[in-house]
Subunit: 346 residues, 2 copies
Amino acid sequence: MNAPTGRLAESLTLPQPYLLFLGDTAEASFGKTALGLADWARDRCVGELSLPGCNFTTGLPRLSLDEARAAGARSLVIGVANQGGVIGESWLPTLVMAMEAGLDIVSGLHARLASVPALAEAARRTGRRLIDVRVPPSDIPVATGRKRSGKRLLTVGTDCALGKKYTALALHRAFLARNIDADFRATGQTGIMIAGGGMPMDAVVSDFEAGAAEILSPDAPDDHWDLIEGQGSLFNPAYAAVSLGLLHGSQPDVFVVCHDPSREMVLGFDGYAMPSIEEVIDLTIRLGGRTNAAIRCVGVSLNTSAYSEAAAAALIAAEQARLGLPVADPIRGGPAFEALVESCLS
Amino acid sequence: MNAPTGRLAESLTLPQPYLLFLGDTAEASFGKTALGLADWARDRCVGELSLPGCNFTTGLPRLSLDEARAAGARSLVIGVANQGGVIGESWLPTLVMAMEAGLDIVSGLHARLASVPALAEAARRTGRRLIDVRVPPSDIPVATGRKRSGKRLLTVGTDCALGKKYTALALHRAFLARNIDADFRATGQTGIMIAGGGMPMDAVVSDFEAGAAEILSPDAPDDHWDLIEGQGSLFNPAYAAVSLGLLHGSQPDVFVVCHDPSREMVLGFDGYAMPSIEEVIDLTIRLGGRTNAAIRCVGVSLNTSAYSEAAAAALIAAEQARLGLPVADPIRGGPAFEALVESCLS
């Protein structure tokens, strides 16, 4: 175990606004990062840049590098992924020119930007930064367990990839619409790009996992909310360590359980049945209570994308009656979602 | 979250037997690694080497580098720590000469061996290896959750630093004395040096924590036991992520709870009361049951070093009556410890 340090560490911060780079990507399904940014951080994206062969758009203005720079862009974000998470050979001339035009490069791909000699050389020459959002800061301290000021909400899940980021973003938007002082605290690549900063929790060394969550949501005014993007699930046989470190370090006052009722088995793990919403509530309170005894569940976010509107409405009503908690699909919104927001703030 | 890979990864292995290096360390309290090795891996230590200024001994023969090499030593282990975990300037000539004599260098210090230019240069020149046991292998896969063959025991704790390594080692010794096929599986620096290999669980990236535990105790014959050294505690506000990843990936059939009855607060965390043994049993079964539904507690290891022999015996008897489980202090041994061993095997 590592000894606590007295240093003040910070989570990642990214230079905004962005120019979204779509490469020569033929399928929109590989452009989730760019599309997510256009959805959730449109006011911090000046436009998009694509190469011949690309046939999707985020709907943002198509700009040259110089036009993007003139519009205030401070970085080019690689908004597409391809098989294997590598950096496309055909992208390199544009990425080098972007640095020459004064933009930093931001990537969430597996391959590190600086591992590409042409990019490393251009960064040295131009003085621009190569920022991998999968790489955590180097000086993360061990958690202290000290209770911090301000209010915190964490989205937790019955599994991976079923709406924890989306739910936190939707709640953040709803809080801001109510003039509540709130920050979205990102814990994964796409969330970090949307927020312009955060902590890639799954890439942090285990001994520092709770410490990373502590510095992600520092002391704040008493009426300030941090809406923290959850990761994984306490019931996931591979990723529960990430979820528990995030829960302990976040010290949430309240949490929302995210669930996809159409999923029967844990994604990618044969033989592992999904836990029930009640099991997740119970275990989250039990484990989260260690660092915040007042933790409580304020509602459920159902991902009903697999259902018709009528079926989704019936499912939401049935779950709400069964659990005695507000239940909503943030994508469908409506009065159910308003009730979930009110429950968070109650 | 990272995608599972099909690679076969392995835990660390160290070149044995060792020559124990004590440096110029004046106090035996800084020589815990060397003393632990002399206690638990004496048959794999050819001797010790100290510099002027050192005034403690492991009791092993004092050898020159050439004598150690002739006695079969394959590596020199830095068996002492000093303030800050750095590599002593005064040690460097000896470490360089050790490499020239054909020995690899093994270190559990915070500072990486290769970060010292004189050592990096000597390693290049001699072809010897610089092995930091705090550095995990680079190709750890994501956990699969697949049940593995063979039997597994994990020591878990009510806190850090109260006997989880010692208990696993003592059980391993007792199992071997009964001619049971068993391996001690090390998860921390000292344990790894004793075992000659293992996995530094607290240094593994969170996403791979359970995967690291899986490769540490691979498939084995049905009557083979892995005795796995626990780390941290599920109740520790900083290190619970390490403990949960280790628990999920180890898939223990049985576990022993390690506890120090004289400790009232979690080490280093003001305001965090120690959990009860019953709470640890209950939570370990609940969380461990996710990857091995048959998990059960087979007993309790009490660290009674703060008590007189009579007080310790009374404490052990009282806890045993209260919990209805075998309770023993492995350091004190005796019939209570034999009963604990039998319970593990029952």
